[in-house]
């Protein structure tokens, strides 16, 4: 029997349509459609849980064919490969999964071909893309290499983390839906008892001072045919994703957070939280916890050889609620964030939920999510990719990174000191110390009696070998001396990159934190940078969702956070170049600086063991109104507000998360809707720090950065600055003013 395009068979009263619906997997793809039952036998036009065979495929036609299939609206679908799908949502997921695979693969190959890339490069990129997006899809028969990667990846999940690291782990394979706090950071959980003379090694031991909580998987409504959409979806419940979710909730915006794991971060990661981050968490209601649990420090010392090169005090000024830095293990903060998010009732935290497909559209993003109890489609109006350095979302969109890899390796060793501690609560950095000649060492104190030590190893070091306690323990003993008893609780070896995406906003998708940019660890700019990204995005997204501001406001996320990322990358690159000189000449200059620093203040200012994270000033921001009066100090437009003591508290605590007019001194003052007035005395520390004459006013953004300031505030001037703050630009401001 042959047919041209379509034919109908009647099996009794059952209508069976056989349709050549378009070219896809081959030139003659045919599907069988039961319109009454809404059942589709899709043949190889649609696959589920498997990659399509593409050897005879028509890539250009395939998406249109799938659109035609989707238009049929099947409630059940039998794909060419994979299990029969018995719901409409599973059917759509299969269609979308196939479409995503076909279009992304084709787009990627075409882009590489246009660039003149070699077949091998193209193949490797395709593998990376396929592995990242479609890792969860089970049998990858047609693409053997992908199949191999997937097998390795599946193995990873059950394998002890001590062996998860190293060469067995395919670099190209991203962890879908999971934040990834570092890159190439090869963690090994292990613990050695404090033993005299001999070291014991236990694989898979948890750090002794902390036990990771396990959060339960809760069946989402989508699996029972309900729900299916969210205003904001956040991929990755790590430090940045949770901060964003909590900040949105504080603005009254609900979000869904998906994460493929079921716990907070594991082992030694971000530890130094800078003043600006502490102020952000104070605004979010967690500041007191950081202060209570964290180790506060502000003095840093730099040693060259065995002698002190110089010391610095980061915050010599009193009258700030928050110190320069607090050291805290990242998992504590994440745990508090999870609790705080739950308390708001606005954050739908979905553990063990893995993003398997990302389909950007004009009015939102369609996600495929896989869970232990089944897969579902989630439509997001807005998507925030907080899924770390190996971001699945970024891989799915095929966005390249631009930047630099540093050819050096560092060892992190966390130790619990069991006897009298030979160090004060300070940051100590050694260049070329006697106990680790030719390299650098960094020492930080954390809560629970844990000390973090970073040893520079050099590029030639073997990460596997260096992680072994037989190697690590003598290094630490050489540093601490023979009489200090310690217990090793975490060891990992890492390399790093300094790089970023070209843009952080892609339509309805935002990249936040490590998914957007990565820096070296020197200067504590990774975690702190990500927290400030979230701080910048939350109020803008909330305003657009509430209708207070237009979509244009969201472009300022790029305008503000890209220069911030560049600043972080610049500083961390310079610090890295200082710490690990690349040439003989560079080393001679570095050493000369350190030697001069003992005597000369000018040289001390060149010593760079990490320019510690300071808040970025959004100097050229479209949201800022430039000064039109002469100011002698104070935070300029774009800068974060400076804290100051007030009667019964601190200035920053008076600001909150909505626009504020911060007024110095009394007297009549223009009042505008949507702006809260906060009056502080015209005399005193606050007025001094803001260089504010009596009657002056600062217009403060919801993220507590300065939008504008006026020595003589008027309704028109404030209104114009306010309109600009909400993203209406200069033209509107001018119109308002006129």
């Amino acid at each position: 029997m042959t047919f041209a395009r379509e034919m109908t068979l009647w099996l009794g009263s059952r209508e069976v349509r056989i349709i050549h619906i378009g070219r896809a997997h081959t030139a003659g793809d045919t599907v069988v459609w039961l319109p009454k039952e809404r059942v589709l036998f899709a043949g190889d036009t649609v696959e589920f849980g498997a990659t399509p065979y593409c050897g005879d495929a028509h890539f250009r036609d395939w998406p249109a064919t799938l659109a035609a299939i989707r238009a049929l609206g099947p409630e059940a679908l039998v794909p060419g490969r994979g299990r029969a799908l018995t719901t409409g949502s599973d059917s759509r997921l299969a269609i979308e999964g196939t479409e995503a695979f076909v279009t992304r693969l084709f787009a990627l190959v075409r882009a590489y071909a246009e660039r003149g890339a070699s077949l091998k490069e193209t193949y490797d990129a395709a593998m990376r893309c396929a592995a990242a997006r479609f890792r969860a899809v089970g049998h990858l028969r047609a693409l053997h290499a992908v199949q191999r990667l997937a097998r390795l990846r599946r193995g990873d999940r059950d394998r002890p983390p001590a062996r998860l690291d190293g060469r067995a782990r395919p670099r190209a394979v991203a962890r879908a839906g999971r934040r990834d706090h570092s890159e190439d950071r090869r963690g090994a959980r292990l613990k050695t008892g404090r033993l005299r003379g001999q070291e014991r090694r236990k694989r898979n031991a948890m750090p002794t001072t902390y036990t990771n909580p396990r959060f339960p998987f809760r069946r989402p409504p989508e699996l029972d045919g309900k729900g299916g959409s969210a205003r904001v979806v956040i991929v990755g419940a790590g430090l940045v994703g949770l901060t964003l979710a909590l900040d949105l909730a504080r603005h009254g915006i609900a979000s869904v957070v998906v994460d493929d794991d079921d716990t907070v971060s594991f082992g030694s990661r971000a530890i130094c939280f800078a003043k600006r981050s502490l102020e952000i968490y104070d605004r979010l209601g967690l500041g007191h916890k950081l202060l209570e649990k964290g180790i506060t420090w502000k003095v840093g010392k730099v040693f060259f050889g065995s002698s002190l090169a110089y010391a610095f005090d980061l915050l010599p000024e009193d009258g700030h609620r928050m110190p320069a830095f607090v050291n805290l293990q990242q998992y504590y903060l994440e745990e508090w964030l999870v609790e705080a998010c739950a308390e708001t009732g606005l954050v739908d935290l979905r553990w063990k939920s893995r993003v398997v497909s990302v389909d950007p559209r004009a009015d939102g993003v369609r996600l495929g999510v896989e869970t232990p109890e089944g897969a579902y489609v989630l439509e997001a109006e807005w998507l925030a990719a907080c899924d770390g350095a190996r971001s699945t979302v970024r891989e799915a969109l095929g966005l390249p990174f631009v930047g630099q890899v540093f050819r050096d390796r560092f060892l992190i060793a966390d130790v619990v000191l069991k006897s009298d501690v030979p160090f004060p609560t300070e940051r100590w950095f050694w260049f070329d110390p006697p106990f680790h000649p030719g390299q650098s060492v960094l020492l930080h104190k954390q809560p629970d009696g844990v000390w973090r030590i970073d040893f520079q190893l050099g590029w030639e070091a073997d990460p596997e070998e260096e992680k072994r306690p037989e190697r690590v323990v003598p290094r630490i003993r050489a540093m601490l001396g023979p009489n200090v008893a310690f217990e090793l609780e975490w060891v990992s070896v890492y390399t790093f990159r300094c790089r970023r995406l070209e843009r952080f906003r892609h339509g309805r998708i935002f990249f936040v934190g490590n998914s957007a940019h990565q820096v070296s660890p020197f200067g504590a700019r990774g975690g702190n940078g990500g927290i400030q990204d979230a701080d910048n995005l939350a109020w803008k997204l909330a305003a657009v969702l509430k209708g207070t501001a237009s979509d244009a406001l969201l472009d300022s996320y790029d305008a503000e956070r890209i220069p911030a990322a560049d600043e972080n990358i610049l500083h961390s690159t310079r610090a890295t170049d200082f710490i690990t000189p690349k040439t003989e000449a560079a080393r001679a200059y570095r050493d000369a600086v350190l030697l001069l620093a003992r005597e000369h203040a000018f040289a001390r200012r060149m010593v760079n063991s990490g320019r510690l994270s300071l808040p970025h000033t959004y100097a050229a921001s479209p949201l800022s109104t430039p000064d039109s009066e002469a100011w002698e100090g104070g935070p300029a437009p774009g800068a974060p507000c400076v804290d100051a003591p007030l009667e019964g508290g601190f200035l920053l605590n008076r600001l909150g998360n909505e626009p504020v007019l911060l007024r110095f001194g009394g007297g009549a003052c223009p009042v505008l809707p949507g702006v809260r007035l906060v009056t502080v005395p015209a005399e005193g520390t606050a007025a001094e720090r803001y260089a504010a004459p009596s009657g002056a006013a600062y217009l403060v953004r919801p993220d507590q950065h300065v939008a504008a300031r006026f020595q003589t505030p008027t309704t028109d001037r404030i209104a114009a600055a306010l309109s600009r703050l909400w993203g209406a630009g200069d033209a509107a401001a001018a119109r308002e003013a006129a």
């Binding site: 000449a585 001679a588 200059y589 050493d591 000369a592 030697l595 001069l596 000369h600 000018f602 060149m606």
Partner: protein, 76 residues
């Protein structure tokens, strides 16, 4: 603005002084000494653009013949 006009009353003494500074030093120590001197001068000058100009002149002067040491990058 970098002053390259003759500016030293006793150029021979300056040259001898610089050479003498390196007496008894190993190549590595010499290199460090030069670096320390440059850093001290740079601070004394206090102007990045003058330093950049000097680097440009110095690189132009000592540039090795083409084809032997081209791997050091281009002058700023």
């Amino acid at each position: 603005m970098l002053d390259t006009s003759p500016n030293l009353p006793d150029p021979d003494a300056v040259f001898a002084t610089l050479v003498r500074a390196h007496r008894d030093l190993s190549p590595e120590e010499s290199r460090r000494l030069d670096a320390a001197l440059v850093l001290l001068f740079a601070n004394h000058i206090g102007d990045l653009s003058v330093l950049e100009e000097a680097i440009r002149e110095a690189r132009r002067a000592v540039r090795v013949p083409t084809g032997t040491r081209e791997d050091e990058g281009t002058p700023p």
